[in-house]
């Protein structure tokens, strides 16, 4: 019970409006863990910090800031043994010069999502999405809560991301969109 409690406890403020706060909580908790399952994750990063970028529309600035804060609280700026940096950026500002090891896309228009996906593909990093439907625009990984909790992986996007631990593939559900 206490584990469930602490699992979902994030910092103070209230999740904003068109977001399902529980889903946002759960994703913030799970997505970095998935990142940790990248093949040879430790070796690849050596002592370089791991960067996760939360991408959002301008209107959702507050929410994005809160997501960043929450992830930081959960992980204490460490992922595995590596330093962990969580940043946020708007869809407008994102470009290939921004270095990141993974992106977490909040809600966005189709164009914005596609744009962010292109940036990520160039960098060969995974794209986590808030909305399951954004997998259709090239997102890599989405976590949904159905009758059970399910992690979806977009097979079409696999060529543009690093490989993950074999065990992860056994528990995710693949879709072709």
């Amino acid at each position: 019970m206490r584990l469930i409690v602490s699992l979902l406890i994030l910092a103070h403020a209230v999740w904003a409006y068109n977001y399902n706060d529980i889903l946002l909580n759960v994703q913030s908790r799970i997505y970095p863990k998935i990142l940790l399952l990248e093949e040879n994750f430790m070796q690849r990063h050596q002592n370089r910090p791991v960067v996760l970028t939360v991408v959002h529309e301008k209107e959702d600035d507050g929410i994005a800031a809160q997501v960043v804060q929450k992830i930081n609280e959960i992980y204490g700026k460490k992922l595995g043994d590596l330093p962990f940096v969580v940043e946020n950026i708007t869809f407008d500002d994102i470009d290939t010069h921004h270095r990141s090891d993974a992106y977490y896309l909040l809600k966005g228009s189709e164009e914005d999502i596609k744009k962010a996906v292109q940036v990520a593909r160039k960098q060969k990093v995974p794209v986590f999405v808030y909305d399951f439907d954004d997998l259709a625009y090239g997102g890599t990984i989405a976590l949904t809560v159905r009758r059970t909790t399910v992690i979806y992986m977009n097979r079409k996007a696999m060529p543009w991301i690093p490989r993950f631990n074999q065990a992860l593939y056994a528990i995710v559900r693949f879709i072709d969109v």
Binding site: R155, M158, P159, R163, Q166, Y169, A170, R173, F174
Partner: protein
């Protein structure tokens, strides 16, 4: 005895053992060949399956994601498993990867397992994984099992031979005994010599010898006994049969025989012959004399050539002449019979006894013993010796009774023996006796009181009836003139109402005694009163005087509720037949309830008659009856005893 069962026991037993051995052997072979090998094989195959199942999903994921290097990695790992001889991966029918384990198998044989590889979470087949599983283990186990089976067969063969020897040896003396007994006959015993060392079989041999002797003795005894028993049984049966249908004294057929014969009788003369004053003979000469006389009379009757003669009972004989008779010819025949008996001489020891008989007879189409009996009684009554049954006797009896009643009524009226009784009507609401129903009674000269049930229907047809009604009216009015807190009711029939003089009389009396507001007239529902305009006129007239009207025995006829309204009835007396069993018959209860409800809606009070016990009384109370009447409350009493209070009021009140 069939040939088959003569086969020796030892052969049969050894046969059975042999069959059992063969069955066990074949079953073992069959199980080994068909299942043992297969089970061993399946165990190994399952192991192989498990390994492929474990690896197939990983290969599936990697194939699906196009990660060839990982596929190879997994296959190499697979082929390094100790039991694996090699793996092949197919895409369609094309073999895309193949690996062999460097360590060769001992035999070179392998078990092949082919598993489809599916897309993760889907049903699309991406390829097939073939696992070559070393069969070393399987072969090893197979050899072991075969060796065990051989040992088992040899052991079984030895066991069989030993059993055959044992059985034959043990059963030899029995076989010998059986052979010597084969020609045994009770008359010609065979000699048995003890040959077996075995205790049990030796005992059997001795016992057989003793048994032979005993059997010989018993057979002889039995033959004699049978013969004598047969004769005895036959004699006894005959005697019993005769006893059943024969009078032991006279030797004549008895009453039982008669009753059975009469069932088949049609046209005939049936006569009962009864000895007059037979008891006197018994008293004078003793029972032996009586018996002797009965025998002689029986013999006499038999000698007279009637079709049948029976001794019906004591001193009664019945004769049957199967012939059609007129009453005249019958009487002649009977006279002849009687005279013949009169003329005959009957004697006991030294005494000569004269017999006289009375005869009752019937010549009806089917004469019955009852008819003859009635005729005999009539003969006795009329003190004549002979009488023929007449069908008119019954009607005559009734007519005579009527005449008697009419003269009784006439004298009763003259002598003031038509009196009035009263039965209380108890009001359940006010909890008191509210009044009385006036009932006519006839007191016979000997003091017995007769209810009108016995004479009223008859009386109504005579001209005495109006006078009887008037007596009741006169007596009632006079009695209640001064008892102003009580009501009284008088039963009137349609005849009464149609009689203008009676009506006038009633009116006069009401005025004379000032009882108009306390008198109640009870009219019988069953008399179709609604059909007579006179009744309506009477009711209206009486109601104008202040009198009240009750309908008696309501609920028996085609209860016509509407006239209750036109007649403005004050009371309904629910018929006794409805009330009597109301506490135990749900149907009656429903009918009564309907009547009570209806009456109350019309403001008519209800009276329950025939209240005979507490339960009925309670039930009536429960159902909302206003007034109860019946033996349970109090019985009808003469007017002078009316005001004697009952000692104990019933519980229900």
């Amino acid at each position: 005895m069939s040939n088959k069962s003569q086969r020796s026991l030892s052969t049969t037993l050894t046969g059975y053992v042999a069959i059992m051995g063969i069955v066990i052997l074949s079953a073992t072979f069959f199980l080994f060949e068909h299942y043992g090998k297969k089970v061993l094989y399946d165990i190994e195959k399952e192991k192989a399956d498990l390994i492929t199942q474990m690896f197939a999903p990983q290969i599936g994921v990697n194939l699906y994601l196009g990660m060839e290097d990982r596929v190879i990695e997994v296959l190499e790992q697979l082929v390094h498993q100790k039991e694996v001889a090699g793996v092949n991966l197919y895409r369609g029918s094309e073999k895309i990867h193949s690996y062999q384990n460097e360590k060769k198998t001992d035999t070179g044989d392998v078990i092949k397992v082919l598993t489809p590889i599916y897309q993760p979470g889907g049903t699309r087949q991406l390829g097939k994984l073939e696992l070559l599983y070393k069969s070393d283990n399987y072969q090893r186990m197979l050899t072991q099992l075969t060796r065990m089976l051989l040992i088992f067969i040899v052991a079984l063969a030895f066991f069989y031979l030993f059993m055959v020897y044992l059985i034959r040896r043990r059963l030899y003396p029995l076989k010998k005994l059986a052979n010597s007994l084969a020609n045994y006959d009770a008359q010609n015993p065979v000699s048995i010599e003890r040959s077996s060392q075995d205790r049990e079989i030796g005992q059997i041999e001795e016992a057989v010898g003793t048994m032979q002797e005993k059997i010989g003795e018993y057979t002889e005894k039995l033959t004699h006994m049978n013969e004598s028993l047969y004769t005895q049984v036959e004699e006894k049966t005959k005697a019993l049969w005769e006893q059943l249908y024969t009078d032991s004294l006279t030797g004549l057929p008895n009453r039982k025989a008669m009753m059975e014969d009469l069932l088949r009788l049609d046209t005939a003369l049936l006569a009962i012959v009864n000895i007059d004053d037979f008891t006197e003979i018994n008293d004078l000469y003793g029972h032996h004399a009586g018996d002797e006389i009965l025998k002689q009379l029986g013999a006499k009757l038999t000698s007279m050539g009637f079709d049948k003669v029976y001794r019906a009972s004591g001193d009664e004989y019945v004769i049957v002449i199967k012939k059609a008779f007129t009453s005249e010819s019958a009487m002649i025949e009977l006279k002849r019979l009687r005279e013949a008996i009169g003329r005959s001489k009957f004697a006991f020891e030294e005494n000569q006894i004269d017999l006289r008989v009375s005869i009752g007879a019937s010549i009806e189409y089917v004469p019955t013993i009852e008819q003859a009996d009635m005729a005999l009684k009539e003969a006795r009554k009329q003190r004549v010796p002979l009488m023929l049954f007449s069908p008119n006797w019954r009607l005559e009896k009734r007519y005579k009774e009527n005449i008697e009643w009419i003269s009784e009524i006439k004298s009763a009226l003259k002598e003031g023996r038509i009196v009035t009784y009263g039965q209380p009507l108890y009001d359940l609401r006010q909890k008191r006796v509210k009044g009385y129903e006036m009932l006519m009674r006839l007191v016979k000269r000997d003091g017995t009181v007769v209810s009108p049930f016995h004479f009223l229907p008859l009386a109504q047809k005579t001209h005495y009836y109006p006078e009887m009604t008037r007596r009741v009216v006169e007596q009632s009015c006079a009695y209640f003139a001064d008892r102003k807190d009580l009501t009284f009711s008088i039963n009137l029939s349609v005849e009464d109402i149609l009689n203008t003089e009676t009506i006038e009389f009633i009116k006069t009396k009401i005025e004379e005694y000032h009882v108009s507001n306390r008198i109640i007239f009870e009219l019988l529902e069953s008399e179709n009163i609604e059909l007579y305009p006179e009744v309506a006129a009477f009711v209206e007239e009486m109601k104008n005087l202040g009198c009240q009207i009750a309908i008696d025995d309501f609920g028996t006829g085609y209860s016509n509720f509407s006239y209750l309204m036109t007649l403005k009835v004050d009371f309904l007396k629910i018929d006794g037949s409805l009330i009597k069993n109301i506490h135990r018959d749900r149907n009656l209860e429903v009918i009564a309830e309907t009547i009570i409800d209806f009456a109350h809606k019309l403001n008519i009070k209800t009276v329950a008659e025939f209240v005979s016990n507490d339960q009925v009384c309670h039930k009536a109370h429960q159902m909302g009856v206003d007034i109860v009447q019946g033996y349970h409350i109090d019985e009808p009493k003469p007017l002078n005893e009316l005001e004697k209070p009952r000692e104990n009021l019933p519980v229900c009140l």
